[in-house]
């Protein structure tokens, strides 16, 4: 009995040290913070097959809207994006469908303003918009609320203003589009899809991070012939 307690004490010490060591080794900042996942009772069987390219295949290059050579990144064609399902309208937009954005590279991001991980990606999204936004590139933020207070349009507009979200926002209040696009019973926030000029899904990433990779993918898609 005593030896069992001794082993448990040693184990507690080891686990405690492992916790401290892991936090110390990787930094204790919270900027990686949360995003969330949502679920539906029945999985959809649509055609979006997410696939982030292997990081080993990447050769990130500096941001440049004028890039003329395609950066090295594997961007498999996953087919044309699914349609929007039962959306409640657009904010901050001159267009009312993704089809109207054909000819542009489009970053579609599923987000909600109460999601820490989503808001953590916004500085990068803003940089993308500043660097590439215009005739060749657009961002569409699909706002899919997790909680009731995130569904209020006034709250969304205020949050967009506070967070510097200046690109078009699609209101997906019932998360029909959120679940329709994302395979399986669980959907995630944030999730970014990059569409080429023909509306094909060419890149997909769940969660925060991979900013250099996303930047490289945008450059590569912009460098593809129209």
């Amino acid at each position: 009995m005593t030896s069992s307690r001794t082993i448990a004490g040693i184990g507690a010490g080891v686990v405690g040290v492992a916790i401290v060591a892991a936090l110390a080794a990787t930094g204790s900042g919270t900027d990686d913070a949360p995003a969330t996942a949502a679920t539906v009772d029945t999985p959809n069987n649509e055609t979006v097959a997410p696939a982030p390219p292997s990081s080993s295949s990447l050769s990130p290059t500096p941001s440049s809207a004028q890039a003329t050579t395609a950066p090295s990144i594997d961007l498999p064609n996953r087919g044309v994006h699914p349609e929007f399902r039962e959306i409640d309208g657009w904010l901050q937009s001159d267009v009312a469908s993704l089809e109207e954005l054909r000819g542009k590279v489009v970053a579609v991001q599923f987000w909600t303003f109460g999601c820490h991980n989503c808001t953590a990606t916004l500085p990068h999204m803003q940089a993308l918009y500043e660097n590439y936004g215009g005739d060749n590139f657009e961002i569409v933020g699909i706002h899919a609320p997790e909680f009731d207070w995130e569904a209020d349009v006034g709250n969304i507009e205020n949050a967009a203003a506070d967070l510097g979200v200046t690109w078009p926002i699609v209101l997906d209040t019932n998360k029909r589009t959120f679940h329709y696009w994302q395979e399986g019973p669980t959907g995630h926030w944030p999730r970014i899809y990059l569409l080429d000029r023909d509306g094909n899904i060419r890149y997909d990433h769940i969660g925060e991070g991979r900013y250099d990779e996303i930047d490289t993918a945008v450059q590569a898609l912009l460098a593809e012939p129209a």
Binding site: A8, P34, E146, H205, I206
Partner: protein, 201 residues
Amino acid sequence: MLAAFAEALRATWQPCTLVLLLPPLAAVVLTRGRWAPLAGTLVGAVVGGWVFAANVVFLSGVRLQLTGVLVAGALGLLAAPTFTSRAVWLRSPLLQGALAAAVAFAAALWWRPCVGRELGVILSTAANGSLGAALPGMTAYMLGAMAPIALVGLALHALKPPQRAMLWIGGTAAVAGLGFSALLVADRHSDIVSTLTRWTL
């Protein structure tokens, strides 16, 4: 792997992780950090994490409520020996290990995770059809999430609180675990997560 472990550790304070942590924590505390239920908790959480990463099942609606009832029952069985000496047979390591594993497994399926950088890469890899490649990272992530629970369990095991103290500790764990299970059954647990999330904004 270390980054995934650490990211899970950092996520433990976040409201979205509450559902993953509270039921297994209650199970480990109620069994005073005994080896079998502690091991069962870790195994159940890791396997549940794999199933979550596979994205083939998620408990919601009636299925969520049903598992809430089952988890409440499992926690009740784990709690019984703390409060009555008649339930000696419930101290069986095999039974306690299995019950704790089931609780942790269910919690992982209820989980709506905080998707940071590392978990994002894990889930993206799994979504790409490379589930096998995602499993090591998911294992590290779930072990990171369970590390504070393991620490509590091991500390309880080593310190062996007196019976009177254990009644309070176990009572608190039972109320928290069973209360949370009741919220799941009533489909009201997201209200708590919603409120906590709003506070942390």
